[in-house]
């Protein structure tokens, strides 16, 4: 870990040496490790230490950037010079509003000594316990357990200096039997919030319940979605339309819907990079403090999140949602919400099941891809546990289905929202999601298992 003092010295020295009119430096450091298992044994165990500095310079209104993972003063000076040389070759970007000015950034707690210090032996023993449990039931466990710390700092020549250190721990497992599989996942920044064995047990329990899955025909069914499936919905709504660039270009599901009730009043979605129930990062990659932005309130889209350039187009302040801008392909995505929350409801999963006469209980979605942006239409598969509900009870497991469904119209039919929420990170960023009961979901195909 480099620490705030050393990072400040490195970045300030590089800023002083820059000949550009404006200069921005974004440092990301990572010290992480991951233990991967399959067939009830560890097959991959890796560790990484890396630091990357992204340089963005402004010469007039010309912008250039360079990235290096070498930290000496000489290497950083060279990266700045490269960025300046690239900037000088470019035409002026007339709409560039300049780098952001400094703003107060209250710190957000996200560092846990236990997560930072987790050893390969701790990970091996945690994973080993799940493997032994699975083996004891004649099942086959696969998955990954990762721990690590990261530091992010943004400094610019207008006086911005933002620093954040955090930890992360993630666990994912798929437990497979002869005829089906179960799944569990959680993300945390405190190690004590990640109960690996309990997650393993829940995946094992699901796998044991899948015997003789039956095929059912494609069609439109009510569905109870576990929070894993809801994470996919929230992630795609965020990625494919809750950023200002998508709205400004007319390709967002929000276009023509802002201020209109298009989802159930039970649906409220917001982005909050400071909430410790997520994975906090209190500022964005331009050093702007992250604002809490309500994206959908009681079924009514409120508007997207902004970075400096999309905000300037509309004469408003950035909401602090810039992605790293030095890589052009990332910058071209525009601002995105990466800390999404959905408001909880009152129902338990059991109560949701009881409300369904004939429908499906779904653990999660898999390999989802955007088919059409305007309704946020996705196609994907179900995976790791699908059950038929009959008369308010789980009746039997069914084979996996393919769906093709607009996520916006799907959320118009929310009948109940779960009271419990899970912190998940298998999509874009971190999502804190409840379970949902939806009136109708369109399935367009079936597979052979």
């Amino acid at each position: 870990m480099l620490g705030e003092k050393q990072i400040r010295e490195i970045l300030e020295q590089a800023l002083r040496a820059s000949p550009a009119d404006e200069t921005e430096l974004v440092l990301e450091a990572r010290d992480s490790a991951l233990t991967r298992f399959a067939n009830n044994t560890i097959h991959q165990n890796v560790a990484e230490v890396n630091t990357e500095v992204a340089v963005r310079v402004v010469v007039g209104r010309r912008i250039g950037s360079a990235i290096t993972n070498r930290l000496s003063a000489e290497d950083l000076r060279r990266a700045v010079e490269e960025a300046v040389a690239l900037a000088r070759l470019q035409p002026e970007n007339a709409e560039f509003p300049g780098l952001p000015e400094p703003q107060p950034i209250p710190p957000a707690a996200a560092f846990d000594e236990a997560a930072a210090g987790a050893t390969p032996e701790w990970r091996a023993r945690a994973v080993g316990a799940v493997c032994r449990l699975a083996e004891g039931h004649g099942l086959n466990a696969a998955g990954a357990l990762s721990t690590g710390l990261y530091e992010v700092a943004v400094a610019n020549s207008k006086g911005v200096f933002a620093y954040h250190a955090g930890t992360e721990a993630h666990f994912t497992t798929v437990v497979m039997g002869e005829e089906g599989s179960g799944y569990a996942h959680r993300a945390a920044w405190r190690l004590e919030d990640l109960d690996v064995e309990a997650l393993g047990r829940s995946a094992i329990d699901k796998a044991l319940r899948i015997r003789n899955p039956r095929p059912i025909p494609p069609g439109v069914y009510p569905v109870v979605l576990e929070p894993y499936a809801v994470e996919d919905i929230l992630s795609w709504l965020g990625y494919a339309g809750a950023g200002a660039l998508a709205v400004q270009e007319g390709r967002s599901w929000m276009n023509d819907r802002i201020g209109r009730p298009v989802m159930s009043p039970l649906v409220t979605i917001w982005d909050d990079g400071r909430d410790p129930r997520g994975l906090p990062l209190p500022f964005d990659f331009e050093g702007v403090p992250r604002q809490r932005v309500v994206i959908v309130e009681r079924g009514v889209p409120q508007g997207p999140v902004y970075d400096t350039i999309t905000a300037a187009r509309e004469g408003r302040p950035s909401t602090g949602h810039a992605l790293p801008r030095a890589r052009p392909q990332t910058a071209s995505l525009g601002p995105l919400p990466l800390h999404l929350f959905m408001a909880p409801g009152e129902a338990t999963l059991e109560e949701m099941i009881q409300q369904v006469d004939r429908g499906l209980y779904i653990t999660r979605f898999w390999y989802t891809r955007l088919v059409h942006p305007r309704d946020c239409v996705l196609t994907g598969m179900t995976r790791d546990g699908v059950f038929w509900i009959e008369g308010g009870e789980i009746a039997y497991p069914v084979r996996n289905l393919r769906f093709t469904q607009g996520y916006v119209p799907a959320l118009a039919g929310v009948r109940a929202v779960g009271r419990e929420r899970w912190r998940l990170s298998e999509g874009f960023g971190c999502v804190v999601a409840p379970a949902l009961l939806l009136e109708a979901f369109t399935f367009t195909g079936v597979t052979e298992f």
């Binding site: 990484e48 070498r70 196609t379 367009t444």
Partner: protein
């Protein structure tokens, strides 16, 4: 640098590793992107570091660092051994990587014009010209034009005595036009979608693509799609354009033949495979016109190299021969596992066919597609269309999804045309086709000839935890499939 490598190997052995390899990777990437007539950015990315992979106590360990010093080499090698020992706490059997592989040599991508020597002004001129040509078409709401150039130098050394140096150069480019109607959004891309087409070639590849020359056509097609009829729902004959065939190969053949997936080590993330070992040599994967290879020796392919990241030489391997499934992509370890499972046969040698690649110094190598190719058939595209009484021609991928055993797939394309009486007729929007992998490939009755064959590059193939993006190639020509279910979203 040599001292760092030698010290890491030495320390790993002193700490008890029975095998160790070191990869030092230095990668430079230049990216340019123009969006809506504005240069979004030009970036130069330099990344360097090393990774140490070991077997100790019969288990794998891997550690890596960006700090290229002798002291760090010692720390990282020791950490890799400690991690291997932690892995060994729950091992079931010792890792077996078979007989030693001892290779020494150098490989450099053959290029005509070094893309890093071409002035940035010239690159921007091409992008701006293409972008302007797209924006000149009335009805276009957003445009994007990009180029990427990569030079990766890597040194591989192992305790078995290998020492290999390679320089891989890649060039990629693409343009995209977006048309927005009252309740409709349509996109066209060239030469391929999802950003770009890419090859292990030099600047000559960019010139051959002729982005400005193709820009007006794709922009006009994007606008025309807004008022096109939706693809009808039907079971019909489909002819897929070459880049869509490449995507079909990638998803429904390339991934299921990765032997690590077959053995379950990707189960929790990328999934498993329907091509289980008992099918090897016996399973009818496709029709008799379907011949598929995995070929890391193809000049220009994005999956072309001299040696893989285990030091195994690049090879050409039969995967599907006259429709029959005959080969996997393997690593040293999985090749031995297959041999133990099935015993020796014409399809099982126990030796790796050289497909292990890592996305960088900080990642462990995994089995990755090299260039997985559908070999050319005999048809000219014009003759194939003329031979089709009724059907749909679809081109350029828009969405792709497939189940975790790679059976049920659903792919959407950017554009389609109805075929009536052997002729392309009206344009169709939002076309989607779906099927089950072996049924689909068994319904293939024609593949176009070598004149239509392109080695398409996929620079964004995701696999592994921590995630890795691999660069893969797919030689493909347009092909015809019968009795395919097609429909549209809107």
């Amino acid at each position: 640098m040599n001292e760092v490598i030698e010290r890491a190997l030495n320390v790993a052995q002193l700490r008890g590793a029975t095998y160790a390899d070191v990869r030092v990777v230095h990668r430079v990437e230049q990216a340019l992107l123009v969006r809506n007539g504005v240069v979004q950015g030009i970036s130069q990315i330099e990344d360097m570091g090393f990774g140490v992979r070991v077997i100790a106590d019969g288990a794998w360990g891997f550690a890596s660092s960006a700090r290229l010093t002798v002291a760090e080499a010692e720390r990282v090698a020791a950490q890799a051994v400690a991690i291997a020992r932690a892995s060994a706490l729950f091992k079931k059997a010792d890792v077996d990587i078979g007989p030693p592989v001892v290779q020494r040599g150098t490989y450099r991508t053959p290029i005509q014009v070094d893309p890093f020597a071409v002035p940035l002004e010239k690159k921007l001129e091409v992008l701006m010209a293409a972008d302007a040509a797209m924006r000149a078409v009335r009805g276009i709401a957003a445009t994007e034009a990009e180029m990427v150039f990569i030079r990766e130098r890597k040194t591989f050394a192992s305790t078995e005595g290998s020492w290999i140096e390679q320089e891989i150069v890649e060039s990629g480019c693409g343009i995209e036009a977006l048309a927005v109607g009252p309740d409709e959004v349509q996109r066209r891309s060239y030469p391929n979608s999802v950003g770009r087409h890419q090859m292990t070639r030099g600047w000559e590849f960019i010139e051959e693509c002729d982005l400005p020359g193709n820009a007006p056509r794709i922009a006009e097609e994007a606008v025309a799609l807004l008022s096109a009829d939706p693809c009808p729902e039907a079971v019909t004959t489909v002819i897929l354009g070459g880049s869509q065939v490449a995507l079909q190969i990638h998803e429904s053949c390339g991934h299921p033949i990765e032997l690590d997936r077959v053995f379950g080590t990707e189960a929790a993330y990328a999934g498993t495979s329907f091509l289980t070992p008992e099918k090897l040599g016996a399973f009818r994967y496709g029709s008799e016109v379907v011949n598929i290879t995995a070929d890391a020796t193809l000049p220009g392919g994005l999956g072309t190299f001299g040696w893989d990241d285990e030091g195994v030489p690049a090879q050409r391997v039969d995967i599907v021969k006259e429709g029959r499934f005959v080969g996997y992509m393997t690593s040293r370890e999985t090749a031995r596992q297959l041999l133990r499972l099935l015993g020796p046969s014409p399809y099982v040698t126990g030796l790796s066919n050289g497909t292990m690649r890592a996305s960088g110094w900080n990642r462990i190598p995994l089995i990755r597609m090299t260039n997985v190719n559908l070999l050319p058939g005999t048809w000219r595209l014009e003759d194939l269309i003329a031979d089709t009484d009724e059907g749909i021609f679809m081109d350029t991928n828009r969405s792709w999804s497939i189940d975790d055993k790679r059976l049920n797939f659903q792919f959407g394309c950017e554009i389609a045309w109805e075929i009536k009486g052997g002729k392309l007729t009206r344009m169709l929007k939002n076309p989607i086709y779906t099927g089950i992998t072996p049924e689909f490939w068994r319904s293939c009755d024609a593949v176009c000839n070598a004149d239509h064959w392109v080695i398409w590059g996929t620079p964004n193939c995701g696999k592994g935890q921590p995630p890795q993006l691999a660069h893969t190639g797919h030689g493909a020509a347009p092909a015809r499939f019968r009795n395919v279910r097609v429909f549209s979203t809107r």
